[in-house]
């Protein structure tokens, strides 16, 4: 039994009693303290100006919980901020709820909290309320995180699929597939190595600039997370009834992503991203939109990848590099590596 004993979460840490308080005060508040949270009230009161607010939720169950470029903590902050930003909302507050597995290490939790702290500070979006539960060993998987978020939608801002129209230009803010391939190649057994990192990143700053600069010419925004770029395109084509086309050669894809997806027989267009957005912009503003994006770190590899067509058959066409065409369809289930 030699060596230092690392402290671990026990069921008591989820009891709501002293052990829970010990955890919150000894660990969480050290990292996340702010006037809202230090109350330790179950709800946070927010003084908001009038106007519309956006409200979103996501649970994060990523495995492995830590990976090059981030961890489940930063992911859970960025993901929810991005969901708000995609509505044109300025994120103002996040909630944070943990389901911890009995036996999870304090050290690991603290690392994740550090990463949440950093992400929240960098983004300028406070976590204003939270919750912690512990489940017995074997009834969870180290840590699950839910973040919910509230954002304010500035007056006059209206982005959404209802504003997409024929002629709109489709822009992606950077390279595609980095997050999903990073996760995939870090799983046990595949034995990949390389310099690839998750792209996990908050995009509300980029969105704010786009809104300010493009005004009503910014029609719709989407973060291509689970299901990837392909799934987003298909979904919006179906929802708008409009056809769209994208050019394979204009889609930024890192070499490592190409390498891994070719080996595993996967299509990078179906791989998750966590720091990218797709924007539908009116034709006249498209070039400027790309320029604006490229001036910011979040969008420095932004590119026009396609356009909305006149056709009303809700199809998405990919113009392939070699000059061919094919349809893009929605993802069916989790992409699996294949050998044939």
């Amino acid at each position: 039994m030699g060596g230092e004993i690392k402290r671990q979460i026990t069921l008591d840490h989820g009891s709501g009693g002293l052990k829970t308080r010990e955890l919150i005060e000894g660990l969480f508040l050290k990292r996340l303290n702010n006037p809202f949270l230090s109350n330790l009230e179950d709800s946070a009161t927010l003084e908001l100006n009038q106007g519309r607010i956006a409200f979103t939720t996501d649970s994060y169950v990523v495995d492995p919980i830590s990976f090059p470029g981030g961890d489940i903590g930063s992911l859970s902050v960025h993901g929810t901020i991005n969901d708000l930003a995609m509505k044109g909302a300025w994120p103002v507050a996040l909630s944070l709820s943990f389901v911890l597995e009995e036996g999870f290490f304090f050290d690991e939790l603290d690392q994740i909290l550090a990463s949440i702290e950093l992400a929240s500070k960098k983004a300028g979006v406070p976590i204003v309320t939270g919750d912690t539960k512990v489940v017995p060993r074997g009834k969870g998987d180290k840590i699950f995180i839910n973040t919910s978020g509230i954002g304010i939608i500035p007056d006059g801002v209206d982005v959404g699929y209802h504003r997409i129209q024929s002629g709109d230009v489709i822009i992606v803010s950077g390279s595609v597939g980095d997050h999903g391939v990073t996760i995939l190649t870090r799983r046990e057994g595949l034995g990949f190595s390389g310099d690839l990192k998750s792209d996990t990143m908050a995009l509300h700053g980029l969105v704010k600039t786009l809104i300010e600069e493009l005004g009503p010419d910014l029609h719709c925004l989407r973060d291509p997370t689970r299901g990837g770029v392909a799934t987003v395109l298909v979904e919006l084509a179906e929802r708008t009834g409009l056809s769209m086309e994208v050019d394979e050669e204009s889609i930024p894809i890192r070499d490592e992503v190409k390498g891994a997806t070719e080996i595993l027989g996967l299509d990078p267009l179906y791989i998750a991203n966590e720091g990218k957005l797709i924007a539908w912009v009116s034709e006249g503003s498209a070039k400027r939109a790309v320029e604006i994006m490229r001036q910011r770190i979040e969008g420095k590899e932004a590119n026009i990848i396609g356009r909305v067509l006149d056709g009303k058959d809700a199809r998405v066409t990919l113009n392939t590099i070699v000059g061919g065409k094919r349809a893009i369809y929605a993802l069916t289930g989790n992409p699996l590596p294949r050998i044939c």
Binding site: S193, A260, E262, I263, C340
Partner: protein, 73 residues
């Protein structure tokens, strides 16, 4: 039928070669490859095994063949 990808050999150690495709590195087994590759060769990798070793020149040669073919319009 049989997804296989050429990868460049960057290390050989016993039954294992470290290979690279577009910066993504992997270890593959050499149990069944026709010829043990040397560093700088390409191997065609299927299901974690190298199934064929090719010298760099071979890849170039087949490309040249296609270029040649394309001229015969």
């Amino acid at each position: 039928m049989c997804l296989a990808i050429p990868m460049e050999v960057i290390e050989v150690e016993g039954e294992i070669a470290k290979v690279d495709s577009r910066g993504m590195k992997k270890e593959v087994r050499l149990d069944i490859v026709d010829r043990i590759p040397k560093v700088g060769d390409f191997v065609i990798v299927h299901a974690g095994f190298a199934i064929h070793t090719m010298e760099k020149e071979e890849a170039k040669r087949s490309l040249e063949l296609f270029y040649e073919m394309a001229k015969y319009v």
